[in-house]
């Protein structure tokens, strides 16, 4: 295999990593019945909190932990509005994206002033489990967080299908009235799901600031949260399929950059638009079968 393919595969895995976290996070939110459009802001918040904490403590893993907690807090906030108060989910999600983005930037300014070059820290090193072996070596040279993201996919499946919390999440996402009547606390389960989801999203953001870049800047998420919203449909709300969606998007993204650098000049916009268009086409083909959890977008309120 030549270096082009090897490099492409390695890059695909890297680009896919934040998307896997983000999409799994959104999956938990939606499976519990909440469309969380706060994802873009939550990822941004995670990138910031992770960076600031790592910078302050000198420990990257504390940074990841801080992002996780920050994301759970963001999920809790979403839960307060969309679940507790039952505010329209689009609006509360967009509001939370707006709020978290602004809050992150506000505190970034307070802490770091107006730096000429973005503040940076020494980022995570990549793991090299296979050293410099040909092909397999460069492909497996990845950040620990990338490895973890791949492990989280089966874990996410397991939690959803093999734990009682997961059973409750699936139930409240489909029929909250029924779950409530069965003695499941809908508000609490949804809040948990949103917190798990928020935590995952934020770690996805922290991957960018702590591993990929070792720095925090204002454009760091650049719409990746919205991509996750697309991927979740592509994945048909199944954890395993999240992987394929994220790899497809990551692959297309990495490919267009790589083709550019070989001098093959294609209109890059076509490439970048591809995952969105593919998702829409997939939706059109799947049609009514591709409907998500039945209770998504419906606030639950016990009369």
């Amino acid at each position: 295999m030549d270096t082009f393919i090897v490099g492409l595969i390695a890059a695909t895995l890297r680009v896919a990593t934040p998307l896997i976290y983000g999409t799994l996070g959104e999956l938990y939110s939606e499976r519990s019945g909440v469309l969380n459009l706060g994802i873009e802001g939550t990822m941004f918040f995670g990138a910031f909190v992770g960076f600031a904490a790592a910078d302050a403590t000198g420990s990257l893993w504390l940074g990841v932990l801080a992002a996780l907690l920050g994301g759970m807090l963001a999920g809790l906030l979403m839960a307060f509005f969309s679940v507790r108060l039952g505010v329209n989910q689009h609006v509360s999600g967009l509001g939370i994206t707006l709020l978290l983005t602004a809050v992150s930037l506000f505190f970034f300014r307070l802490i770091y002033g107006e730096p000429r070059i973005p503040p940076s820290i020494r980022s995570f090193d990549q793991l090299q489990p296979f050293g410099n072996l040909p092909i397999i070596g460069p492909i497996t040279t990845q950040y620990a967080l990338t490895y973890i993201s791949f492990l989280i996919i089966p874990l996410a499946w397991w939690v959803l299908y093999r734990t009682n919390v997961g059973l409750n999440i699936r139930a409240v996402g489909e029929n909250p009235e029924a779950a409530d009547a069965a003695g499941v606390n809908v508000y609490r389960v949804r809040s948990y799901a949103l917190m798990i989801g928020g935590g995952l999203m934020a770690v996805g953001g922290a991957f960018l600031s702590l591993a990929q870049l070792g720095a925090f800047t204002y454009g760091i998420i650049a719409g990746r949260g919205w991509v996750c919203i697309a991927l979740i449909i592509f994945a048909n709300w199944q954890p395993a399929k999240v992987l394929w969606g994220a790899l497809l998007f990551g692959g297309v993204f990495a490919l267009q950059l790589r083709l550019q650098s070989t001098g093959l000049n294609l209109p890059y916009e076509t490439f970048l638009a591809l995952p969105y268009v593919v998702t829409i086409i997939a939706l059109a083909i799947a049609g009514r079968n591709a409907t998500g959890p039945a209770a998504v977008l419906k606030a639950y309120k016990r009369e």
Partner: protein, 501 residues
């Protein structure tokens, strides 16, 4: 000792007092009926007991000791289970998952183990369900059994059943009653809500009657009669409504020719259905729910396209016509689910106007005055308790049904399609609706009546067709039909097809 005691329960919704200092007690091992007209407060009282509502004041005692029930979880903890009018099952999950939901111990969920446990419980309680089946694929009766099993699995000592028979056919009702009898022997106490007095008289030991949120009294079955119960419920004597006089031979106004239709899941729901409904007759369609009645109404209402076949109103073909074309052709429709026949957020006046909106539109602008005038007129004509500007969702079931009747019948349609017109209505409202339907017949309209209530079909229909698995298995004259014969046909025993008239 009393399994449950509710003392002086009061619940207000805004200005409305839904439960007014109600005392209620349930003895161990009894089946206790809760009776009352629509809106009397039965469901409200039970939702309080099950923790879905909070009483404004009053006390609940379980086994003699006062308890606080603030959520279904608490109620389940006190051994109370509830099977509501509208099922509360998660349809993409399995039976077993639904049964254990909210009650599975520990953190880990082991599907195989859960299925085993539920199978064991189903056998123990003698309830016939398949634990690994997905709810979505079950019939109404099966779903209700899942609900019961769920309550029992949660160690219910008290089972609340809110209008459980409203959705069942006679055979299923029998099975339900047998199950309840057996469970009662094992010590279960049951609160049974129904509008059907004969059911109450069949299965219950004691009966509590509510009216307008107040308790009228509790009586022993053996000391009372259907007539007395009816009087307690509505405060006056009631009489059944029966068709009078024989059907005049007339022209077929509704002709259904070889209709075949496919339902939402892609299964064939109607197979070569052919029917004629004549001027001045009521043709009743009896059948176990889910045998194609819904699809037949939908096809006739224009909300489902048939795969083949033809439909005529008089000489006009309306196969594949839209709902508005069908109403314009002279069809009045009463939908099986009244909530699906009105838009809750819109006002009474708007709901009355929408179906024939052209009449109320001048150069695509609404004639608001005409819409209001129309509503006021129908409200007084049909004795609807509502104002034209009330959102229709605030109306009681009976009043909502009257609005639908007014809308369907006021244009004096040639054909009336009435589907479950009295489902869930109380005695008074039921009487009113049936009278109105017979008025249509007597005026010369062709009335197609679909009902799962055999008593209703038998007392109103000139002819009775029985539908089974999407096919008409027989038609019998109303004067000759017996409950046994119809019941047999409804379970598939085939009859010679006789066309009368």
């Amino acid at each position: 000792m009393n399994a449950i005691e509710m003392k002086s329960i009061t619940k207000r919704f805004g200005p409305l007092v839904a439960n007014d200092h109600i005392d209620f007690d349930l003895q161990k091992g009894e089946i206790h009926a809760l009776l009352g007209e629509n809106g009397a407060g039965k469901t409200t009282l039970m939702r309080i007991l099950y923790g879905l509502y909070h009483a404004d004041s009053g006390q609940i005692l379980v086994d003699g000791s006062p308890v606080h029930i603030t959520s279904p979880k608490d109620a389940i903890g006190w051994g109370i289970g509830m099977v509501s009018q509208h099922f509360t099952l998660v349809s993409p999950l399995t039976v077993a998952e639904n049964v254990v939901l909210g009650y599975n111990k520990g953190y880990i969920y082991r599907p195989q183990e859960v299925i085993q446990n539920v199978t064991k419980a189903a056998n123990q309680f003698g309830i016939d369900v398949e634990p690994s089946a997905i709810i979505r694929h079950l019939s109404v009766g099966e779903r209700q059994r899942v609900e019961i099993l769920k309550a029992l699995y949660h160690n219910a000592k008290v089972l609340i059943m809110d209008e459980p028979t409203a959705v069942l056919v006679p055979q299923e009702v029998d099975i339900l009653f047998q199950t309840l009898e057996r469970l009662r022997k094992d010590g279960l106490s049951v609160i049974f809500i129904s509008h059907k007095l004969y059911e109450v008289m069949t299965i219950c030991d004691r009966i509590t009657v509510l009216r307008d949120g107040k308790k009228i009294g509790t009586v022993l079955k053996n000391d009372t009669s259907e007539r007395e119960l009816a009087r307690m419920m509505v405060g006056r004597e009631t009489f059944g409504v029966y068709r009078q006089g024989e059907q005049k031979a007339g022209n077929p106004l509704l002709r259904i020719e070889n209709i075949t239709a496919v339902d939402k899941k892609g299964l064939t729901a109607l197979k070569n259905v052919s029917l004629n409904v004549y001027e001045g007759e009521v043709l009743g369609i009896a059948g176990v729910s889910g045998n194609g009645q819904s699809e037949l109404t939908q096809v006739l209402s224009g909300t489902l396209k048939p795969a083949s076949g033809k439909i005529f109103i008089g000489d006009k073909e309306i196969t594949n016509a839209s709902p508005s074309e069908i109403t314009r052709a002279g069809v009045g429709r009463i939908p099986e689910d009244r909530h699906a026949g009105v838009v809750g957020e819109l006002t009474v006046a708007e709901n009355l106007a929408l179906e024939s909106i052209e009449k109320f539109t001048r150069r695509s602008t609404l004639d608001k005055r005409l819409i209001l005038k129309n509503a006021e007129q129908l409200i007084s004509e049909y004795q609807i308790k509502a104002r034209p500007t009330d959102p229709i969702r605030t109306l009681s079931g009976g009043n909502m049904q009257k609005v639908i009747l007014a809308r369907a019948l006021s244009p004096e349609p040639r054909v009336v399609i009435a589907s479950q017109p009295t489902r869930g209505l109380d005695v008074g409202a039921t009487e009113y609706v049936r009278t109105k339907l017979l008025e249509q017949r007597n005026r010369g309209a062709a009335v197609l009546l679909l009902s799962e209530d055999l008593e209703e079909v038998m007392s109103l229909s000139d002819r009775i067709a029985v539908i089974y698995e999407g096919q008409i298995v027989g038609i019998v004259p109303g004067t000759e039909a017996t409950e046994e014969q119809l019941g047999l046909m409804m379970t598939g025993a085939r009859q010679e097809v006789k066309q009368h008239g």
